[in-house]
């Protein structure tokens, strides 16, 4: 995916892209959601379930009441927004970071460690310390694949996926060994210090301040990409690496490397926020695949940081409703993975068709570039 959506300028100062270009990613997203819903309904019907019943269970589990909305859907959307931002940032720079999952784990480990062992500090210092540690953990986890890409030219897709598996095992080891709870019975850590926890944002719910952090970071990433020089370089390297490098003013490899690390840091923060805001401890399998869901979140948002807020909440709703779906309609929760895959495929396909017309489906001709034009009219 080399191009992003038509640029959106949240804070003005940039010419807005022509309306057609701004709407296109929204249409793609809407189309993808519709197609996926249709495909999923079909699959459910084939499997003997009633799509309507499943849908209502899903929606009820996600939006049934304001309490549910805040405590379940929005809470579950926080890690998805943060990992979604990580993926958006990386993809925009042309870095295929499929390792957000492992970076989340690494961040969670780092954040928990600080939360357990720095208890003397006041919350004003401890909470940021936990989050910074988490960011560094995620960044460190991205460092190996990023260095391998920069120095050795090794593709980051496989290396980041491999690091996911290593992180999984590292976390499992940590909660059974060095970080294990005092009692030594279960594979989990003690609860982190009270001062290290993110407080509740809306009283009476479980919505914690991590949500605000996610929103702020989303805005921050958007401003970075569209208003700063660094963001411009990132976008240039992501869509046209050769042109960026040849301009002589952009160190394409360096930009990609640093963005890779930043992406890891964002994913790490997701892990730290989850520990500091929801679980207050670390255990095995903290992430039910956020790093992979993040890819669907990012693509559905058209790689837009602000769009990730919307799609993150959507997928948070999906996750929140999945439990109800399993209870009420006895549909296995694993279907959520299928839905995510369908969303990604639908976005890819619609994006392709949008840009190349339905001709994309026919047999191509051999010569693929239109002949050089003289002073012709604009196509």
């Amino acid at each position: 995916m080399r191009d992003g959506p038509g640029d959106r300028a949240p804070l003005g100062g940039r010419p807005r892209a022509p309306r057609a270009r701004r709407i296109a990613p929204l249409l793609t997203a809407a189309g993808a959601v519709t197609l996926t819903a249709l495909a999923a309904s079909l699959a459910l019907a084939v499997g003997g379930h009633d799509p309507g019943r499943v849908a209502s269970a899903l929606i009820g589990g996600a939006f049934g009441s304001p309490e549910i909305l805040l405590s379940v859907t929005l809470v579950r959307s926080v890690p998805l927004i943060l990992t979604g931002l990580a993926v958006v940032l990386a993809f925009r720079a042309g870095v295929w970071n499929i390792g957000a999952e492992g970076q989340v784990d690494a961040g969670a480990i780092a954040g928990t460690t600080v939360g357990l062992h720095a208890g003397g500090l006041p919350p004003l210092l401890l909470v940021p310390a936990v989050l910074v540690a988490a960011a560094l953990g995620g960044l460190g986890w991205a460092l190996v694949p990023a260095l391998m890409r920069l120095r050795l030219g090794v593709g980051e897709v496989i290396t980041t996926i491999l690091m996911n598996f290593v992180a999984l095992n590292l976390a499992a080891y940590m909660v059974r060994g060095p970080l294990q709870e005092g009692r030594g019975v279960f594979p989990q850590t003690d609860a982190i210090a009270d001062a290290a926890r993110l407080g509740v944002m809306v009283p009476g719910t479980r919505l914690h301040w991590g949500f605000a952090i996610a929103v702020i970071l989303a805005v921050g990433v958007s401003v970075l990409l569209h208003r700063t020089r660094t963001g411009f370089r990132i976008r240039a390297v992501g869509t046209a690496p050769l042109a960026a490098a040849i301009s002589g003013r952009i160190d394409a490899d360096g930009v990609a490397f640093r963005t890779f690390l930043a992406s890891g840091a964002l994913a790490g923060v997701a892990g730290g926020v989850e520990v500091a805001g929801v679980t207050f401890a670390l255990y095995e399998g903290l992430s039910p695949g956020w790093g992979y869901t993040a890819i669907a979140v990012a693509l559905l948002a058209g790689l837009s940081p602000l769009g990730v807020l919307a799609t993150g909440i959507l997928f948070g709703a999906l996750e929140g409703g999945a439990g109800a779906m399993q209870r009420v309609a006895s549909v296995p929760a694993a279907w959520v993975g299928v839905v995510q895959a369908l969303v990604i495929l639908a976005v890819l396909a619609l994006d392709r068709v949008r840009r190349h017309g339905l001709g994309a489906l026919t047999v191509p001709s051999a010569v693929v570039v239109a002949p050089a034009q003289g002073d012709g009219s604009v196509g």
Binding site: A17, A236, A240, A245, A366, A372, G376
Partner: protein
């Protein structure tokens, strides 16, 4: 020429690419025993017409008749079956495979079934080499071959199938003059043997030297067909270009825009903001020398990084730069001719400060304009808009507000105005700065790149094949701008390095003339300043 019907008759061929109509009812007739030249500007549709004949592209409308019978040419195989062989402008060869394997690719030999018929192919190729004199070592990989040898492989591949019609697309673009002569002799002998040979070129004198008849295409239509005796260069040029003068007029720049742009002008040389600039050591060069290379050598690089390849030097093995020394002075155009692939790319990158030499010393200004030869992948970010593309050259200049550097704000308002200014000044046909670069035609894209690089150049501009693929009007425009740039009176005059495989262009524009051959730079003394003279130098070290 034989009497009798045409071997090939193409009528009313229409072919569109999206909203662009490349062929608008073109026609072509090829008679057996003749060499037929197809002329036209870049963009006239010559290559497209030939691709239709070669089965590479289906036509949207129109008919093709072979020996009077209508045929369908949907794939290259269809074309072979009807005896049409094609030699492409951009060679269709697989580099890592050997010459023999390339020749055997897709070639079916009866009775061999699934096995690779290498021996059978080898025998046939040897016979062919005897007859035509086209010698290539069969066991070497294509990657090891120079451009001239690769073309011989392309031709052998086409001749192997014993075509009755041979079609060649711009074969002379990559050849030195002596090689062109040898090719033309071959074509004449093939025609004399009864074949129909069609040759696309956009250089008039070449076509007139070899063709029996010519057809001229303009804007996708056939506008003129004549026997060589019946026409002359002037008539052909008129047919190619049309009666109206095709020069595009540059609009005067907006005064306000220029003033804004001045804020973005780079600081004087001496500051080194970009990370890839080489560090200068020793005493500075004399004041009127803007760039100096001493004993510069560059090794070959392999390309590809990560999962998103960004190799500047990736691709077919260009030879390294070997011990190059060069001074570029103010107010002068250093012209460097040569067949592509002899180190021009490395030289361009070193001069433009994009590449540090492995040996020797390169003193170049901190800010150099660079017009790369491939505008779609190197000059522009096609999926970004025009303002973004102009920003590629200016984003690290001090902005109108705030500090520069790491977290600096992009001066979008200024850049937008500057882009509009560039669009007006260089007559870029676009709706506005918000257009996506991909939407522009090739000529307009190049004009934007040229305009941008001229603006950003302080003391030095490096141009690599800047008029490739442009029609006459756009080419003239670019040449005019280069001359204007180097003759600038407001402030110290800059220097220009023009690297081009178009001999005429280099001869027309340069103050000093050099030739690149085999990674070395050879000065062309005054007595050699002609096509023949330079051509001889080009071949001196050619592989």
């Amino acid at each position: 020429m034989n009497a009798g019907g045409p071997r090939v008759r193409m009528s009313a061929i229409v072919r569109r690419f999206g909203s662009v109509t490349a062929l608008d009812g073109a026609s072509l007739e090829l008679l057996p025993g003749e060499v037929h030249g197809v002329l036209g500007e870049n963009g006239a549709g010559k290559t497209t017409l030939l691709n239709v004949l070669g089965g590479m592209l289906p036509a949207d409308a129109g008919t093709v008749e072979i020996d009077g019978m209508p045929v369908r040419l949907a794939t290259p195989r269809d074309a072979w079956r009807h005896g049409i062989g094609m030699v492409h402008q951009h060679f269709k060869l697989v580099s890592p495979l050997t010459v023999l394997e390339n020749l055997a690719l897709g070639y079916r030999v009866r009775g061999h079934g699934m096995r690779l018929p290498l021996e059978a192919v080898r025998r046939r190729v040897s016979a062919l080499q005897e007859r035509t004199g086209l010698r290539v070592e069969l066991r070497r990989t294509v990657a090891e071959l120079g451009v001239g040898a690769r073309q011989r492989v392309e031709i052998l591949k086409a001749l192997l199938r014993e075509p009755e019609v041979l079609v060649l697309d711009e074969p002379t673009a990559v050849l030195a003059p002596a090689e062109t002569r040898a090719l033309f002799e071959l074509l004449r002998s093939l025609a004399a043997g009864g074949r129909a040979v069609a040759l696309v070129a956009h250089k008039l004198d070449e076509v007139l030297a070899v063709a029996d008849r010519v057809t001229v295409l303009r804007s996708g239509r056939t506008v003129h067909t004549a026997r060589r005796e019946e026409t002359d260069a002037d008539a052909l040029v008129r047919a190619m270009v049309g009666d109206a003068a095709a020069t595009s007029r540059a609009a005067s720049g907006a005064a306000v825009g220029s003033a804004r742009l001045a804020q973005l002008r780079p600081p004087m040389p001496g500051r080194v903001p970009d990370p890839s600039a080489p560090t200068a050591t020793g005493s500075p060069p004399p004041a009127d020398v803007v760039a100096a290379l001493e004993g510069v050598s560059v090794r070959r690089r392999s390309g590809g990084r990560g999962d998103a390849s960004s190799g500047l030097l990736a691709g077919e093995s260009p030879p390294a730069l070997q011990d190059v020394s060069l001074d570029v002075r103010r107010g002068e155009v250093v012209g460097i001719a040569g067949v592509e692939g002899n180190g021009q790319r490395e030289l361009a990158l070193v001069l433009a400060g994009r590449l540090a030499p492995d040996e020797g010393r390169a003193r170049v200004p901190a800010r150099t304009g660079f017009i790369p030869q491939d505008r779609t992948t190197e000059g522009l970010a096609l999926d970004l808009d025009l303002t973004d593309n102009v920003a590629l050259a200016f984003h690290d200049a001090p902005s109108s507000r705030g500090a520069g550097g790491w977290v600096g704000w992009m001066p979008w308002a200024t850049l937008r105005v500057a882009t509009a200014d560039l669009i007006a000044r260089y007559d870029v046909r676009a709706t506005g700065p918000g257009d996506r670069a991909r939407a522009l035609s090739g000529g307009n894209q190049q004009k934007l790149v040229v305009g941008r690089e001229l603006r950003v150049s302080g003391d030095l501009l490096v141009a690599e094949n800047p008029t490739r693929g442009l029609d006459v009007g756009a080419t003239r425009f670019v040449h005019e701008e280069l001359r204007r740039f180097v003759g600038r009176r407001d402030g110290p005059a800059p220097g220009v390095v023009l690297i081009s495989s178009d001999l005429d262009e280099v001869l027309a524009l340069s103050t000093w003339l050099f030739v690149m051959a085999g990674g070395r730079l050879i000065e062309a003394p005054d007595e050699r300043r002609s096509r023949e003279g330079v051509g001889a130098l080009m071949l001196g070290a050619a592989p």
